[in-house]
C-alpha cells in the first residue's frame, strides 16, 4: 500500500514539477520586455549572447568575479549533481548502457563534490554575517535537503546496499504509471521521500534560478547601438 502511494506520489510529483516549472517560466515570458536593459558591455550579436549565456550557465562567470570560494563550491555542487543525475539514468534502462559505466565508476567522487560544495555553501550562509542576514529558513532548508539526499544516496551505495534492478523496476513503473513494488529497504524509502520533497519544492522556489539566468534581460539582450 505504501509502495503504491509512493509510486503515485512520484507520478504526480513529476507532473507537478514539469507543470510548475512551465507555469513559472510562462509567467516570466508573458511579462513584457518594455525597455532593453542589457548589462553592458554586452555582446553585439546573437551568437555573442549565446556565448554569454553559456559562460554564465556553465562557468558561473559573474560569480567567479564576485567570490572565488562561493564560485568553486557552487561549481563542485552543480557539476557533482549533474554527474549524479546522469548516473541515475541507469534506472531508466533495464540493462546497463556502456556510456554510463565511467559515470558510475566515479560517482563516489561526484557525491563527495556535492557534499563538500553544499557544506561550504551552508557554512558560508551560517558564518558570513552578510549572508546570514539575508537568509530565510528556506535558504538553509534547501541546502540541508540537498545534503541529506546526497548523504542518504551515498549510504545506499556504500553502507547499506540496495538491489538496484528492483529500484529501477519501481522507477520505470512510475514513468509508465504502473505499480511495481519497492525493495523492502528503509534507507531507500528515506532517500526517495527526500527526493520527492525536492521535486515538490523545485518549481515554487528559488531552485528554478538556472532558467532565470537564461530569461534575465540583462544577460540575454544584445547591445543594439
Amino acid at each position: 500500500m505504501f509502495d503504491l502511494a509512493l509510486a503515485l506520489s512520484y507520478s504526480l510529483a513529476l507532473v507537478w514539477l514539469v507543470g510548475g516549472c512551465a507555469y513559472r517560466v510562462g509567467i516570466w515570458l508573458k511579462a513584457r520586455n518594455s525597455l532593453p536593459i542589457p548589462l553592458t558591455p554586452a555582446p553585439r550579436t546573437r551568437s555573442g549572447v549565446v556565448m554569454r549565456l553559456c559562460l554564465e550557465l556553465f562557468a558561473f562567470r559573474s560569480l567567479a568575479r564576485a567570490d572565488k570560494t562561493t564560485w568553486l563550491a557552487s561549481l563542485l555542487f552543480h557539476y557533482g549533481l549533474l554527474w549524479l543525475a546522469i548516473v541515475h539514468l541507469r534506472f531508466v534502462f533495464t540493462s546497463l548502457p556502456t556510456f554510463l559505466i565511467p559515470f558510475i565508476q566515479y560517482s563516489g567522487w561526484a557525491t563527495l563534490c556535492v557534499i563538500v560544495g553544499l557544506s561550504v555553501l551552508l557554512l558560508r550562509r551560517l558564518l558570513v554575517d552578510r549572508v546570514r542576514y539575508v537568509s530565510a529558513p528556506s535558504d538553509y532548508l534547501h541546502l540541508m535537503l540537498l545534503i541529506s539526499i546526497a548523504v542518504s544516496g551515498a549510504l545506499l551505495k556504500r553502507v547499506w546496499p540496495v538491489n538496484l534492478f528492483e529500484v529501477g523496476e519501481f522507477l520505470r513503473g512510475v514513468f509508465r504509471v504502473s505499480w511495481v513494488p519497492l525493495p523492502d529497504h528503509a534507507g531507500l524509502v528515506v532517500h526517495l521521500l527526500l527526493v520527492l520533497v525536492l521535486l515538490l519544492v523545485f518549481p515554487i522556489s528559488k531552485l528554478l534560478h538556472g532558467v532565470g539566468v537564461i530569461v534575465s534581460p540583462t544577460f540575454n539582450q544584445r547591445d543594439r547601438g
Binding site: A31, S34, L208, V215, T218, G225
Partner: protein
C-alpha cells in the same frame, strides 16, 4: 551631518575592507518627501492615499507584468551573497539594508507574500512579509539609498539588476503619494520650462551669449553659440548644469571649441535645454517618455540631421538604450548617424578624421585618472565598438594629456564604483550618504594619488562632477581637481 562618522579611507593592498554589518546604521537618513504641490504637478496623489496598501500591491502587479526583468529578478535570487560586498553604499555605511540583495528583499518579501504560493502559505519559512507602515518607511529610505548604478549586477550570477527593483519601488511609492521631492521637483521643472534648473529662454540666451563672449576674449576667435537655429545640422543637448556649474562649464567651453574648430553648424534648443531625464531614476516610464520626447520633437522642429548628447551619464543611457523604444525611430536623422550620439563619439570621429588637432603638451603638469560613470559603463555603449564606452573617452584623454594613470581594475570600467550621488540622490539632505557612498571611489583615487601623484579626476557625467567635487574634500582628496573630459580636450585643441 556628523563628520566624525565618515570612515577614513583604508586601503589594504588592492583589497577593500568589507565592513561588519551594522543594523540601522543609516536608518536615520531619509530624503525629503515631495510636497503635495509637486506631486500634483507630476500627476501623482499629493499625500499617502487611504487605500495605499492595495494600491501598492496592485501597482506592483502591474509592474511585474510590464517589466520582465523585475518579474524574473523577484524569483531567481538564491541569496548566494555574491552582491553583498559590492555596493558602494554598503561598503561606505555597513548598513545591511544597503546590501543589494537585502535592498531587493524589501520588495521581494512583499512580492512573495502576495504573488507566490510559498509566500502566501508559509510566509515565515520563505521570508515573506506584509507591506505595513514600517516596511513602507524602509522602502522609502533604502530605495533612496541606491544610485541604480548596477555594479552589483556585474557580480550577480543570475544577472539581477537592483536598479530595476529600486525603480519599481520608487514608482510604487510615488504612485501612492510618497514621491521624492528632489527628483519629482526636477521632473516638474523640466516639463514646465525645459530644463532641470528651470531656466527660461531669455536666461538661456544670456548665459550662452556671456559664454560666447568669454570664449572669444580667451581665444580671439569670433564665437557665437546658436540657440534654436533652424539652419543648424546638429542639435546639442547637454545637462543644464553645464551652463552654470563648476567644473561643468569648462567642459561645455571645450565642446564649443571642438564644434567651432570642426566648422559644424550646431545649435542648442530652448525646448530641449536639458539632457538629464530624472524619470529614469524615479522609474516613471510615462514621464521618462515625455522627457525624451522633448528632445526628439525639438530635433524635428529644428530640422537637424544629428543629435549629440553632452557629458551626462544617465542621459546617455536613455539616449543610447531607451530613446528609440520610448519615442519611435529616428528616420529624420542622417542615415550615417541614425541614433543620438555622444559628444565623445563626435570628438573622437573628428580627431580621427583630422578635423581637429590636439596637443597634449598644453595639459603639461596634469596627471589624470578617469572615473567611468556607471550609466555609461554598464548601461550603454559608445562608438559602435565593443567596450567603446571605455575605449573612446580614454583615446580622447590620451590625445589631450601627457599622462594617464588607471585606478585599480576593480574600480574602473565595468566594475567602476558609482560617484555616490547618482540615481536622484544628488541632494543636500542625503549629504551624509553621499560622502559615505563615495568611500570606495575615494580609496581607489587615494591609491593613485599616493603612487603616481594624480592631480585630476576626469569624468563625463554632470552628476559625477558635482558629487565628486563636493565630497572628495571630506575624504582628504580636496586637492584633486574634478574635471570634464572636454575641458582637457578644449585646452589641448589647436585653434
Amino acid at each position: 551631518m556628523k563628520e566624525s562618522s565618515v570612515p577614513a579611507a583604508q586601503v589594504v593592498g588592492r583589497y577593500r575592507v568589507i565592513p561588519i554589518i551594522q543594523e540601522q546604521a543609516m536608518a536615520n537618513i531619509s530624503t525629503a518627501k515631495a510636497t503635495p504641490a509637486i506631486q500634483h504637478e507630476v500627476g501623482l496623489p499629493g499625500a499617502l492615499v487611504a487605500d495605499w496598501h492595495d494600491k501598492a500591491i496592485s501597482r506592483l502587479g502591474t509592474l511585474l507584468k510590464e517589466r520582465r526583468g523585475l518579474q524574473v529578478f523577484m524569483d531567481s535570487c538564491t541569496k548566494c551573497g555574491a552582491c553583498t560586498d559590492k555596493c558602494h553604499y554598503f561598503l561606505g555605511t555597513g548598513d545591511p539594508l544597503n546590501m543589494p540583495v537585502a535592498r531587493q528583499d524589501l520588495l521581494r518579501s512583499v512580492y512573495r507574500r502576495h504573488f507566490t504560493f510559498a509566500g502566501k502559505w508559509f510566509p515565515k519559512l520563505v521570508g515573506a512579509r506584509e507591506l505595513d507602515k514600517p516596511m513602507l518607511e524602509d522602502w522609502y529610505r533604502y530605495f533612496h539609498q541606491c544610485s541604480e548604478c548596477r555594479r552589483c549586477t556585474v557580480f550577480c550570477p543570475k544577472g539581477i539588476d537592483t536598479s530595476e527593483v529600486t525603480m519599481a519601488g520608487r514608482d510604487i511609492l510615488a504612485s501612492i503619494g510618497i514621491g521624492q521631492q528632489y527628483s519629482q521637483e526636477i521632473i516638474a521643472k523640466v516639463n514646465r520650462v525645459g530644463n532641470n534648473l528651470g531656466m527660461k529662454k531669455p536666461a538661456l540666451i544670456d548665459v550662452l551669449d556671456n559664454l560666447a563672449e568669454d570664449i572669444s576674449d580667451d581665444t580671439g576667435l569670433a564665437i557665437r553659440i546658436p540657440l534654436d537655429d533652424a539652419s543648424a545640422d546638429m542639435l546639442i543637448v547637454t545637462p543644464s548644469a553645464d551652463f552654470f556649474a563648476e567644473p561643468h562649464v569648462d567642459g561645455l567651453i571645450g565642446m564649443i571649441k571642438v564644434l567651432h574648430v570642426a566648422g559644424i553648424r550646431y545649435t542648442f534648443s530652448s525646448q530641449a535645454s536639458e539632457a538629464a531625464n530624472f524619470a529614469l531614476f524615479t522609474g516613471q516610464r510615462d514621464q521618462m517618455q515625455g522627457i525624451a520626447q522633448r528632445i526628439s520633437t525639438a530635433a524635428q522642429a529644428l530640422g537637424v540631421s544629428r543629435i549629440v548628447m553632452g557629458e551626462c551619464g544617465h542621459a546617455w543611457r536613455v539616449a543610447y538604450s531607451f530613446m528609440d523604444t520610448l519615442v519611435g525611430g529616428f528616420d529624420y536623422l542622417d542615415p550615417e548617424h541614425p541614433r543620438p550620439e555622444h559628444i565623445c563619439e563626435l570628438t573622437y570621429e573628428l580627431l580621427k578624421a583630422g578635423r581637429i588637432q590636439l596637443d597634449p603638451t598644453r595639459n603639461d603638469g596634469k596627471v589624470v585618472t578617469f572615473h567611468d560613470s556607471c550609466n555609461v559603463a554598464r548601461g550603454s555603449g559608445m562608438g559602435g565598438i565593443r567596450r567603446g564606452q571605455f575605449i573612446v573617452p580614454r583615446a580622447l584623454l590620451k590625445a589631450s594629456v601627457p599622462e594617464i594613470i588607471e585606478m585599480s581594475s576593480d574600480a574602473t570600467m565595468q566594475k567602476t564604483f558609482c560617484c555616490g550621488g547618482g540615481g536622484g540622490l544628488l541632494t543636500d539632505d542625503l549629504m551624509e550618504l553621499r560622502i559615505k557612498g563615495a568611500l570606495p571611489r575615494a580609496q581607489a583615487l587615494q591609491a593613485v594619488v599616493d603612487s603616481h601623484g594624480v592631480t585630476h579626476l576626469v569624468a563625463i557625467c554632470a552628476i559625477c562632477k558635482t558629487q565628486l567635487s563636493q565630497v572628495l574634500p571630506h575624504h582628504n582628496l580636496g586637492d584633486v581637481q574634478v574635471t570634464s573630459l572636454h575641458e582637457l580636450v578644449g585646452n589641448a585643441i589647436i585653434l
